[in-house]
Symmetry: D3
Subunit: 312 residues, 6 copies
């Protein structure tokens, strides 16, 4: 999903780059560049037609020096060991930067969830949770929603873990349903934070977000909530949004909630009749806008593309 860039090598280069600014031995650095452990598991699950299928899944625990590992679980056909390792490493730095007592972890299943029934996804998730059991827990490693997972998957993991351990431990996951102990505001948190970051960026640059033009790549939970708040809180015009089907564009700004509703109904943003034009994702990424929000998968913008990005 990230062209020819290996995300794990990308992480390691970033650590090397950062290390030039601090005084750290190469031996310590070497430790910081590799995950403490990675579990690879092959889940054999019965499908609705009675046949078996094997799914490859991973959990990487990168570094736990600052506290229990913390990080999402994604379901995507492009999940690889190196991607999971890289993402778990980035979680270490994210938690450290905001100074919360957690380390970094990440997991994923190599699957396109659209191809499976809800019952099959439940069995796959519970099978994965059974594998995770000796390694996770509120005091060990705490999964969270990520690409293609949400409250439903977290509740399945929580319920499986609690049954296996014979207890009630809602802290084993974050992002669970509010009725099951989840935090209010969790669903919109990623998108809201994107808006807050954008607001600070405009402020830092001494520009006014009101009336600015914005393009949003990716219109899942993160992208659509970000778009909604950028429109409603900052008064900017979201002129283009995209998903894997392509992008839609309106020079005066799209109605971000209407696009979301349209995507909920049809499964794609393309075809939305409030747009004046349809674009490719690459066209969207290189548009001349004031703000570009990349809200799909990591490494969407590589060095080459970066040169073409038109956002100010």
């Amino acid at each position: 999903m990230s062209g020819d860039v290996n995300p794990f090598e990308s992480l390691q280069e970033q650590i090397d780059d950062a290390a030039e600014y601090i005084d750290v031995g190469t031996d310590v650095l070497e430790r910081l560049k590799r995950p403490e452990r990675v579990l690879e598991t092959n889940l054999t699950v019965e499908l609705d037609d009675g046949s078996l299928e094997v799914f490859r899944a991973y959990r990487s625990q990168f570094n736990g020096d600052r506290g229990p590992y913390k990080g999402g679980v994604r379901y995507h056909p492009g999940v690889t060991r190196d991607e999971v390792k890289a993402l778990s490493g980035w979680m270490v730095y994210k938690c450290a930067v905001v100074d919360i007592p957690y380390g970094g972890g990440k997991g994923g299943i190599e699957i396109d969830p659209i191809d499976y029934s809800d019952a099959e996804l439940e069995r796959i998730t519970r099978s994965f949770a059974t594998e995770l059991r000796p390694l996770v827990g509120a005091d060990r490693d705490i999964p969270a929603p990520d690409v293609n997972t949400g409250q439903r998957e977290m509740n399945w993991i929580k319920d499986t873990y609690e049954t296996l351990e014979g207890t009630t431990e809602p802290g084993v996951v974050t992002g669970k349903a509010i009725d099951s102990g989840g935090s209010c505001g969790r669903v919109e948190a990623t998108g809201r934070s994107t808006m807050l970051t954008a607001r600070e960026a405009f402020d830092y640059l001494g520009e006014d977000p009101a009336g600015a033009t914005v393009a949003v790549q990716g219109y899942g939970n993160a992208g659509s909530v970000a778009a909604k708040f950028i429109e409603s809180e900052l008064g900017a015009d979201v002129v283009a949004v995209s998903d894997s089907s392509g992008a839609v564009y309106h020079p005066d700004g799209l109605d971000t909630r209407a696009v979301k509703q349209y995507k909920n109904e049809t499964g794609a943003v393309t075809g939305y009749d409030g747009a004046t034009e349809e674009l490719t994702n690459e066209e969207l990424l290189t548009m001349d806008v004031d703000l570009l929000v990349p809200a799909a998968l990591e490494n969407a913008i590589d060095a080459d593309l970066a040169r073409d990005v038109g956002a100010d």
Copy 2:
């Protein structure tokens, strides 16, 4: 260590080959071709000079349907994930063939133990044992000695596990010291079994082992004990033995114990003065002998070489 053959692909091909003789669905077969789980861990250990070094280690648990996983832990610079996966798969079939209630596992550390002090090896082993802890135990997975590991390493694993669990559980490893609950005969078991297999093979072919010529590739524990018993119990002439330094040859048979003692003192079989000639390993493998014993690492003989093997 195995040329360009990937041992894991080799295992999967063998399973496919075997599957042609039984009635089994492709979905079940698919499950049998992949390990249930593989733990990859990066051990950060303090060396004697105070610096840190990171060691990559693996434990593959291939299939536990028949009982706790069972298999060795090897220390070798050529250890790879795929090798460990393949070896754990072969353990499944070994245990099943002799009908003991165990599944298959295997582990390894990517390390050349000759480069490290005893104290460093102890710390590395104990660090690995700490990682293995949630996955092993007499009822879960039982490590054993393998290439470059023996009673000493097993006792370190056992002691670490017992300290972590606060109990006495000698069954967590096999191959431990006899004083620590090890089985009598364990050290010579692999070599003795090789001799028994050779004896049965001669019997099956209706030939007399007494006076037969034998070449032994690899002169570690397995090879040297096999040579000793083939000489003493079967009366055959061990005309050539080798290790990573090369091979030594005597047309009338070598004194297998003397060669072993020489290797213990010098670290190699080459240079042994009771030999008439020194050969390469490849020459040894293709010698014209009655019995060839490959007792080094797996996949020593590939399809090409197999055509050249001269043993009857």
Copy 3:
């Protein structure tokens, strides 16, 4: 204790009645009408005279979907399996109505505690706690005081549980002594809530509680505290109170604390010399008062009696 009404059937009818107002399948409903599990245990305990006696005890865990089970443990000769099941079911709905993350449970021992010494009651309670051990805990099921149990019994359960688990876990019970981690205000909570409910009811009906006439059936902890607060906080006149010995009446209002002190000393409210008249419990329940507080056991008022209740 509740005439010929089976409390469990009563609960199930209430669920059926409520179900008519929501859209729920009969299969889901069926699950909601039965406890998840009921433990029945026969406790054999040595009495002070050295003989053994067997006591029947129950713990019903009705529904844990919303969190750990929660509910009291009562000691009463009329305890039955169906009563415990019903009470545990009502706890589910109580916790849900006030939206706390707990499910419903309830326990009881078939015993009249007045017939046993303190030492015997301690041994009986500790024996029950040993039986409860695998099912309770701050994250599993949390007992509380109920009819004829209080801080003393909760502390015995807590201490037994902590000794068995080798830890300190005050959260295993509520209603323990304040010095042992109990909550301030817990002892008066039931009675105070009764007063608050009455206050809201008067408010809802647009009437003034000051000077209203009140009858309280049951003068244990719940009833006497309710009476005290209804008198002191609302300014109402508690004209009649009862216990199993009968009821006492004074048209201008009783001194609720004096009656309590009298009952503490004599074990009954009857005979209290500040009353003008003595009544039966049934007479009290059907008195013409502004507020009737049924604070004894459940199902005190059945359909027939309800027609005769004189309270407004």
Copy 4:
């Protein structure tokens, strides 16, 4: 299944009867007449059509003074709490009589397994095993096959328990498949023991079993194996066998294996064409034979019927 006799009362009367022959206090006796604990659980399981159904299940642990509880789990629509309690009590005495260090337990689900698919039965069994988990284990309570349960159900229980506990513990059940650690001879053990008992009875009475006439009520595992051995080992003529469909009769003896094969194919013994006559179960029980083997459910023969039994 047992007419109007309450099996638990029946057990208690037997204990009272036995007590007359020993010196035991009534308080001790009272303890011996009641189970230590009974777990009642309502299992909510999803059926193949997606709807839920609730199944009532029990486990009674009668007495553990001599060791872990031991006893079967039956699936039958007539399972009741009192039946399970009684059966668990009889297990106490059976284990004590043969002097093995086990106490007595018994469990059951109120279900007619013929009405459910294999997948449904697996889910029901695994749900029950999850409930049993805190109470069972090789050192606590060990289920076994009983009416309508066998190796398959035991393996489901074992697998569920092992997954929940994260270990391998085949000792948690007896009667599992031999490949899963089961004992050889377990399947035929009940029937073989019946033959041995019959052999000893003939010997005790000084009669010769060869040529004796035998009627077998119940032709499940116990009855059919008993019949097979009584025919093959003792040389007796099994003239009549029955199941819930009725009985078949041949004055010269039936071919016990042929009848079994017929029942395996058709689900009933009636209709077997090697019989000369078909009878009711009651007729079979009162036939004039040398040996009557009641191999169906308990209490098949009550006091009234006992008078009519024609067997010598």
Copy 5:
């Protein structure tokens, strides 16, 4: 109980003496001279009159290198920390000499059990077992009977441990009742071994035990069983036996069983009318006999007394 000899110093001197015969560093020796850990606990127990009493108790775990700690628990007013430490050290060497995979432990309570009722002793023992719980277990440390403890105390410890752990683990103690999993022959094992040692000693010296004269100091379980077997199996004459009340003597040999029965009835050997003379313990120890059996507490014979011992 052992004059002015400190048993722990005595043990340490013995280790120093033994060390002269082997090649061992002083640092290793230092480790071998001290217990790994000693738990001292003050048990507060309610007496039958309702008052509390505090009892000092110890458990010393001397060395566990060879396996779980193993050793008795004694009840005696003369129990001291140093005595318990010494006894636990001697257990290490006893287990090593007979080459069983156990280390050495020992425990004791400072109490004269004759001053307490059975109920009090049960409460004291159960309180001690609760303290021992985190340190003992079949795989950690295994108590056994010792001075003034036996099957009864072991069963109390076993039952307490099993209740606390929620399991059945008879291996937590040895010396329990046979019905509770104890070993046949355990009660007589110490005495029988004494006879076997004596038999071997006579054999080694080339003398005939038949008709030899024997004095036994201490007539508890060890001494009286030894006397019985020395009389019945070796045909020797037990001419004198003693206990804390003094010694009885008959030149032609005492009837060892009759003396035992007399002591069981009266609590002492003195006064036994089958004796011709009564002696002090010191006189017995210095008698002119062929064999002297010291079967009371350790250190009965010090260097001075040793010079006076008259036995050959």
Copy 6:
């Protein structure tokens, strides 16, 4: 370190003294005068030169009625069992006086840490933590820094405990590094409290601390922080401070931070060139000052010395 006063006897006398003011039975008192348990352990640790050394260590858990045990771990050559017992007893009363739900514990190792390298101290501490493991935990017993231990040692204990338990449990110790979950202000808490106590004392006596003269015995963490705050917050003149090297004096007050920095660099207060005079510790203790702060070890002032103390 405390002359000839046995601190445990001292504690017991204090309890007896206090008991005269309350109504408590001698049996209860007896319980309050002895620790519930004391673990003595001999830690065998490998030194940097490869040799072994044995270190005696203790943990006393005096009384846990009010909650988990709580108290420091000190490293000092003068540590004795009786000192540890006494200190653990005083912790009971300290926690009770400030009414926090903790009991009292204390531990220590008989060692002068100055004689050992950091690596050796780490191994010694981790060995001690392994011994403490079954007895400590956030819900059982919580060590803290004490003489010669601090954040570093607490982090070693925490890390060892967490590794052994396979979890993250920062609550197992207090006084850990802030980055590891420690409390802000913990390092200065003892010294700050001393200042607050002094402030209240001056207030109680109606005197003004500004300009008062102060002598501080002991200039470790507690003493130097107290001095700093007494100087900066109260405006008093710290005229003399001491450590084990002796005391320094300046009639107009010392610069408390400068003395601290001097001690950090040289390891002693003596030789500080901002002083006008050097004194012995005893001279300091008996100086004529307004406030004397004894901040070294307990029992620095005995009855004799108390008569000579010159502070007001």
